[in-house]
Subunit: 437 residues, 2 copies
């Protein structure tokens, strides 16, 4: 694995792209400023934070011209460097895209503020009252790729949850992100919050990432967003906790006791709603007594252009079906391809999911109450569903309002991570002069 | 920092102490067995887990003779190796100590089982029902020093929370821990749970620790218990999340609006109840208008043998007081020594705590409601108290029943960590054939 941890290096760049000479010193300063800003944010009122979100939205609208101009610089450079059309598409800012960011900011302003909420407040035998107060994590570092809207999404969520943010976007978007940073800082200043509450790293030097993930004194958690390779590398090199999202090899298991119409609808939706998303079904497991579901689905998938790769029993049933290799059971296709396996019972289905799956999202279709309860307990995934499409595994669908990502970790936050996932709880104790015996 | 990560090494030990020849292969096997056992534990009922706890307790009572004999071996070896009296004391097992372990196991059996609890179950606009189910983390690795009772405490908490445990105690206690392991495994078998649900590492080779903390495929979280140096080293080398406890530099701030009698009682209790514990007060901050509290406390501390080290203003008030150096503000004495500083206002106190403290436990003594609220918000520690002694920061006092440690992290668990801290939450979704638009 290539290390992204850099030592003190000089940034060798020309023109306006970077003015950072000493990356290590620069990142130290960014970290210190974030830590300082986080102390102010910790006690910022909900009104102050919401006012900052609206002020940033206003500043974005006011600077549409300069945002589009900066983005055009990135696009020209991208074209010159031979970026793929898909990458250029993700990089592109449009007036509608800016409107989307503005709406996102105003929507986060409407969400409930988790900070300060006290749970479990109760009197204990000693006479003290003890509770748990929700508090910001402190400083959140976000590492992402070239989509500039992530800059504003992350800003909104970190700010509302009372965290200072250090944002490191892809180098292809550096000019767009710098222009967005100006609007963010203008908004923060209007609201009377420190401009360093959200800092966007100004250098494209990779050593900045190495520094960001190894400063536990300044950074409380890292949220990497991007491909599996990037995330694994960051998790491996980090000296700071990482909330990470690896792959989504999601399953739908159609049980013998499934309602066939529900099974067909769910499996078709889970595969074809969108192919490139982590909550799409990648493997369909079908009980040997429910194969009519499979024969109904096969022509529907064919019409939609979904390629099937099946086990021997599946191929006996569907002669057109390609053979599945062992690798298919662990592959996140993110494409119109589906692995299919016929199983003899629910035990085999659950064992398959826990062995080959990625613990992201898995669903059972069954009318059998006892089996549904068992599936919920025994399948060890961040979302486990009964009679619903895996496509629902999403922050907005779960009512979180917005999400910073979907965690496939078990520690701290699991599944879609919203505002609450960016907070911690501290104990609060009230007494009347109480001492411990 | 010395790395504890070892490569494949041969264990060079003689006699019965170790039969492990290839540490890397042995640890792989331990990891695989733990992962396998955790799948069974995930769906173990509360009754099964409680029955195992009682069966282990019974097995401990039945094997008192062999436990004491094994412990005597460790003690002889310890004496021969020149262990300090304090270490030998911690290493010693007595019939009363065994009774304490037995009571601990039976008490954990009485605690509420957090696993399976579903929170936030609600209907969402799409018609699905979404909730969060509490689930075990999976496999927990505990690294500790020479106290054999930790072996049983950790066993009880991991088992009740549905986690498989891999326990690595200090090398001085290897014979005691092996004898305890026999009782634990006998109990697990009686209850019909896998014997590998709790594994005690059989080798004293340090490479075993290096392997344990770098197997994310088998281990979900590491809880190190011991000195700050050990914990920092583990946190630095781990490739697995670590729930850690660094130092406790705890403060009591006596405000101008404090009730003097409460302030005296709280400060005296927080310092003198026990010196060697992490929740003991190490620095007393006193408002310049509340110095009568200090002049009342000074002779009490003197009589108790507590040495005071004060700022200039403190020394002007208490001529006997030694001068505090900057180092005193960040020192966890764990001894009858107290740093004292007179501050001009609450701002100075809060700034001192957030700057020099260790974010463990800090208390204010005040009758001022507004200031109490401010202190709760602005002091960024795992426990923040009003008019109560820092000595209350403890799992038992907080009603957790038992604790695996006190976390000074912000991620996942903060403050005393009980059964809930050893669990995660997964999303569960119920539908009626729902698909996403």
């Amino acid at each position: 694995m290539v290390s992204v941890v850099g030592t003190q290096r000089q940034v060798e760049q020309t023109g306006t792209e970077s003015t950072v000479q000493d990356v290590a010193a620069y990142m130290q300063q960014v970290g210190q400023q974030a830590r300082q800003a986080s102390a102010r944010l910790r006690s910022a009122t909900t009104a102050e934070k919401n006012s900052a979100l609206h002020a940033i939205a206003d500043a974005l609208l006011a600077s549409e011209g300069s945002l589009l101009a900066a983005n055009e610089k990135d696009l020209s450079a991208g074209r010159a460097n031979g970026l793929s059309d898909a990458l250029l598409d993700r990089l592109t800012l449009t007036p509608d895209g800016i409107k989307g960011m503005v709406e996102g900011l105003r929507q986060v302003a409407t969400l409930q503020d988790p900070v300060g909420q006290i749970d479990n407040m109760e009197y204990l035998p000693s006479g003290i009252q003890r509770g748990q107060m929700r508090v910001p994590l402190g400083v959140v570092g976000i590492i992402y790729e070239s989509r500039p809207n992530v800059t504003i999404d992350a800003t909104a969520l970190c700010l509302k949850s009372g965290n200072a943010a250090i944002l490191r976007g892809g180098k292809e978007a550096i000019n767009s992100n710098r222009a967005l940073a100006l609007a963010v800082q203008a908004g923060l200043e209007v609201a009377g919050l420190p401009a360093d509450a959200v800092q966007i790293i100004k250098t494209t030097d990779r050593a900045a990432v190495g520094a960001l993930i190894t400063m536990p004194e300044y950074v409380d958690v890292i949220v990497p967003r991007g491909g599996k390779g990037l995330i694994e590398r960051i998790a491996s090199d980090a000296r700071v906790p990482v909330i990470k999202h690896l792959d989504g090899v999601c399953h739908v298991y159609v049980d013998a006791a499934a309602d066939a119409a529900k099974a067909v609808a769910i499996a078709f939706n889970a595969k074809t709603r969108r192919y490139g998303v982590c909550n799409a079904m990648e493997t369909l497991l079908v009980h040997a007594e429910a194969t009519e579901v499979l024969t109904t689905l096969a022509p529907m998938f064919k019409e939609k252009g979904v390629e099937l790769r099946g086990c021997e029993r599946t191929r006996a049933l569907l002669p057109d079906c390609l053979p599945a290799t062992p690798e298919d059971w662990t592959t996140e296709y993110l494409a119109p391809v589906l692995a299919v396996r016929i199983v003899s019972d629910a035990d085999e289905a659950i064992a398959h999911i826990n062995h080959y799956g990625s613990q992201h999202t898995d669903a059972i279709v069954t009318e059998n109450f006892t089996l549904a309860r068992r599936f919920l307990t025994e399948v060890d995934s961040s979302s486990v569903m009964v009679n619903a499409s895996t496509a629902f595994a999403d922050g907005a669908e779960y009512g979180l309002g917005a999400e910073i990502g979907i965690s496939t970790d078990k520690i701290h936050a699991r599944g879609p991570v919203g505002l609450v996932g960016l907070t911690s709880q501290k104990y609060v104790v009230f007494g009347d002069g109480h001492t411990r015996a």
